[in-house]
């Protein structure tokens, strides 16, 4: 069981959840996710766990952190959970971002809650020169993330759909602007499927390597149910499970956008 250390609102409908754990099967890596049960032990509704990407991890203090947005009943119940409550959390799960020998210029592009998994990734990308592109509806939605990334002393660029920051528009458009000036060695991205599809297209076109973290509706998160199948792009008739072979896929690995 994991204990809630804090569960604070950090933006419109956005919460920052900090949990302490006693033990984990293994240390989580950036891009992995945890599957959280929000129902009380004696309640069977909501039935499924809810997947959330690791936002931050602290081995010394035995803490894992998440940032989530309230979108439905599961996240609503989660947002009402209080410090001291116990949560049934399964993980770490899934295929993480690859980190080895990632040198040179790296672009991180996060849209909406897709920003969450990029933070711990950023922390780990010590050998790279990072440029971070973050987008959301409003600055309020970005504020918490922006501060965290800036706390890492990174080159952070912000875009919002409803107000002009660096630009008025999406993280994608912002990034595409930069792409005209510089070609990164590698791109990491997470966000809405349409954005991922566009990022992927651009990278494939320009021969930029990269990885995408996709969100699929999941039944189990552990590979048993095949709810999260993504069609493989290379191997005809082969599917890949977003929960095991993903959520992080290489560029061009699976069909993005359903």
């Amino acid at each position: 069981m994991f204990e809630i250390l804090s569960n604070k609102r950090v933006g419109p409908k956005i919460y920052h959840l900090v949990l302490s754990y006693e033990q984990l099967p293994q240390n989580p890596e950036p891009g992995q996710f945890f599957n959280i049960k929000v129902a009380k032990k004696s309640s069977s509704d909501p039935l499924l766990r809810r997947p959330f990407s690791l936002f931050d991890f602290d081995e010394a203090d035995k803490k894992i952190e998440f940032v989530y947005r309230v979108v439905g009943r599961g996240t609503e119940i989660l947002s009402e959970s209080k410090t001291g409550e116990k949560l049934d959390v399964l993980g770490p799960l899934g295929n993480p971002f690859s980190l080895k020998d990632r040198k040179g210029l790296v672009h991180l592009i996060g849209g909406g809650m897709g920003i969450a998994p990029l933070y711990y990734l950023s922390k780990k990308l010590r050998n790279s020169i990072q440029k971070v592109f973050l987008g959301a509806g409003t600055y309020e939605e970005l504020e918490f993330f922006s501060k965290k990334f800036k706390g890492l002393d990174l080159d952070v660029h912000l875009a919002a759909m409803e107000e002009k920051l660096e630009i008025k528009g999406s993280a994608l458009v912002l990034w595409l602007n930069y792409l005209q000036q510089e070609t990164p060695n590698f791109v990491y991205s997470c966000g809405p499927e349409k954005m991922l599809a566009a990022v992927e297209k651009e990278c494939l076109k320009n021969n930029i390597g990269g990885e995408l973290s996709v969100e699929k509706r999941m039944g189990c998160g552990i590979g048993v149910c095949l709810s999260c199948s993504c069609q493989s792009k290379n191997e005809e008739n082969k599917n890949k499970r977003a929960c095991v072979e993903g959520p992080v896929f290489g560029m061009g690995e699976v069909v993005i956008g359903e």
Partner: protein
């Protein structure tokens, strides 16, 4: 006293005999069987516990040809339940035999292949392909798939079709045969009896209830496939009733499933008349459920001072 209870736990006899024909005796060390499609092919759960602790393993559904399955979203959550429309994604029987079965060889528990078809011939073809696979203790015929040739109606809704398919498979396949029945029917005892008459060794009930969910913001069905099958705790009361009613008419063992999440639920199905049970959806939520459920069964037996689990089968009648 607690100590002696603890000690006693190991002396409970959880085994169940699901033999219906002397030529195919089958005793499971406990009644827990993985429900097809909810436990992958075992490997995944093996990360969480030794699945050899279970009574038996049923693979996910296999078909003649490889299937990519339905478009996503394939899963929707409902009140205490889920609707799935995986669409039988599987590598086809050839690859199943070549790749999956060799892994199953290492399991120390009975393994069953769950076979699905889109035409009657599919079932016969699959039974034939699998008839010499020594890794298998038997097969489970999934009669809840749409009969494409028969206009999309599900095979399992007509007693006569159930009889015909089962009888023919019985001729082809000499091992243990489970016939898995659909609950989307007026009277499940009719199809259950048809399976029995045709030579099934056991019936499994229930498969999922036909269901759907609509995304009210998009104003369209949430599942790409529109419809799907409802499983999980929501359906348990329907499943228990079907087992209870079938027990009064059948002579062959019943494998009860639908919404089991706890040892108490297993007991409920067994009291209704199930000789063994399938655990499905709960594995998706709580991968260690199998182990926990075994513990809870023992707790119940201790509380009720029952030595042999099998003594409660049908006891609620």
């Amino acid at each position: 006293m607690n100590n002696s209870r603890e000690r006693n736990k190991n002396s409970f006899d959880l085994s169940v005999n699901i033999t219906s024909d002397e030529n195919r005796t089958l005793r499971l060390k406990n009644p827990l069987i993985t429900a097809s499609g909810t436990c992958g092919n075992g490997k995944e759960l093996a990360d969480f516990y030794d699945i050899n602790k279970l009574g038996a393993f049923i693979t996910k559904g296999i078909t003649v040809k490889p299937q990519k399955g339905n478009q996503t979203p394939r899963i929707a959550e409902t009140a205490s339940g889920i609707i799935n429309s995986i669409g039988l994604e599987n590598p086809g029987v050839e690859e199943f035999i070549a790749e999956v079965l060799p892994e199953a060889e290492e399991y120390e528990l009975p393994v069953f292949a769950n076979i699905s078809g889109y035409s009657e011939e599919d079932f016969f073809f699959l039974a034939d392909k699998l008839k010499n696979c020594s890794e298998l203790s038997g097969i489970e015929i999934n009669l809840s798939c749409p009969n494409i040739k028969g206009g999309g109606m599900v095979f399992g809704t007509e007693a006569e079709k159930v009889f015909q398919i089962t009888q023919k498979v019985r001729e082809i396949y000499s091992g243990y045969i489970i016939v898995k029945l659909t609950p989307n029917i007026t009277d499940i005892t009719e199809t259950a009896l048809a399976a029995e008459k045709a030579g099934a060794d056991a019936v499994a009930m229930i498969n999922t209830l036909s269901a759907m969910k609509i995304d009210i913001n998009q104003q369209k069905p949430l599942l790409a496939n529109k419809f799907g099958g409802l499983s999980g705790p929501a359906v348990k009361p329907v499943a228990v009733k079907m087992v209870y009613q079938s027990f009064e008419k059948l002579n062959i063992p019943i494998i009860g499933l639908g919404g089991i999440t706890s040892g108490e639920d297993v007991i409920e199905f067994m009291l209704a008349g199930a000789s063994a049970v399938g655990i499905g959806t709960i594995n998706m939520i709580d991968p260690e459920a199998g182990l926990r459920i075994l513990r809870e069964i023992k707790d119940y037996l201790a509380r009720q001072d029952i030595k042999e689990l099998s003594s409660i089968i049908g006891a609620a009648h």
